[in-house]
């Protein structure tokens, strides 16, 4: 209800592209680089309430994301499981520098 009457602050705030690299050490070992997440693309097609606050806390860095949790169906994995959106084995759709170091 609150969501329905509130304006769209994020769209105006222009969160744009976010880079996630908290787990960069682990990513390097697997041969992938930081994740680029386009908040704009997602908020344009998906309602805020689909993600906030159930899947993601609405604060940069407040979500302890990892590939393991994605694979357990949390965070990005809640949708990117080949039923709602593209599956997670397409590493290079989210990660940069895929296959750089092995």
């Amino acid at each position: 209800m609150i969501l329905a009457i509130s304006p769209k602050p994020a769209a105006a705030a222009g969160l744009g592209e976010m880079t996630f690299d908290n787990k960069i050490e682990s990513m390097k070992k697997a041969g992938v680089g930081p994740v680029i997440f386009s908040h704009t693309t997602h908020e344009n097609t998906i309602k805020c309430a689909e993600c906030h606050p159930d899947i993601f806390i609405e604060k940069r860095g407040a979500n302890d994301m990892s590939m393991k949790k994605n694979m357990d169906g949390e965070h990005c994995g809640a949708c990117h499981d080949s039923t709602v959106a593209f599956p997670m084995y397409q590493c290079s759709k989210c990660h940069t520098q895929v296959g750089a170091a092995k």
Partner: protein, 204 residues
């Protein structure tokens, strides 16, 4: 058989024949009237899926991702298989591994009766995933050697030795290693945790 049974059978036959005739006639009629046939067998996007009784089970391209095909009510397997109460994975595909493990099916090991059957090799190999969080992989020889012979994998795809291969998930996703089969003839790669089963100890 009693004469009444014969009468019944003849009656049934007549009914079927009439139904078949009327349907064919109706289709012909529709085509003659210039109505566009909705299904074009020469167009791959318009493949027909028949069930075991030869009835139309669905239409569409088989090259689409499973999810899309499944959403549209189709499957890779004939509808008949889908409805036989076979166990399914989360993508609606028949779970062949479960069928074997539960002893529901017992396929012939070879079409050649004289060929010796090797019992499946009951050796699991733990393949450590790189990184600090993602669960390790238990590779089961058992289910693979049930369906496949050693030569399918050794040495063409994998050297025979734990840790002897420079496997990586990035390459698997590119269709190498386990990706030679998974996502093609075996359960799809999207089902991550069917391979990633062993949690990393210290961290989570």
């Amino acid at each position: 058989m009693k004469p009444t049974t014969y009468k019944y059978l003849i009656f049934l036959f007549c009914v079927t024949a009439i139904v078949a005739f009327t349907t064919t006639w109706q289709i012909k009629e529709a085509q003659a009237a210039g109505a566009k046939p909705t299904l074009d067998p020469s167009d791959p996007k318009s493949s027909l899926y028949l069930d075991s009784r030869g009835k139309l089970a669905g239409t569409g391209s088989s090259s689409k991702p499973v999810s899309e095909a499944f959403k549209a009510g189709q499957g890779w397997h004939p509808q008949a298989l889908q409805s036989e109460g076979l166990p399914k994975d989360r993508y609606g595909l028949v779970d062949w591994a479960k069928l074997v493990n539960d002893g529901s099916i017992e396929p012939l090991h070879s079409l050649d009766e004289d060929e010796d059957e090797l019992p499946p090799l009951d050796v699991d190999v733990v393949i450590h995933s790189k990184g600090d969080y993602v669960k390790d992989v238990k590779y089961p020889h058992q289910i693979h050697t049930y369906w496949l012979s050693c030569e399918n994998c050794h040495p063409a795809i994998f050297e025979m030795g734990a840790g002897a291969n420079p496997i990586s998930m990035v390459e698997i996703a590119e269709g190498k290693w386990c990706g030679r089969c998974h996502g093609k003839v075996a359960f799809p790669l999207a089902d991550c945790n069917r391979c990633h089963t062993i949690p990393k100890k210290a961290k989570r």
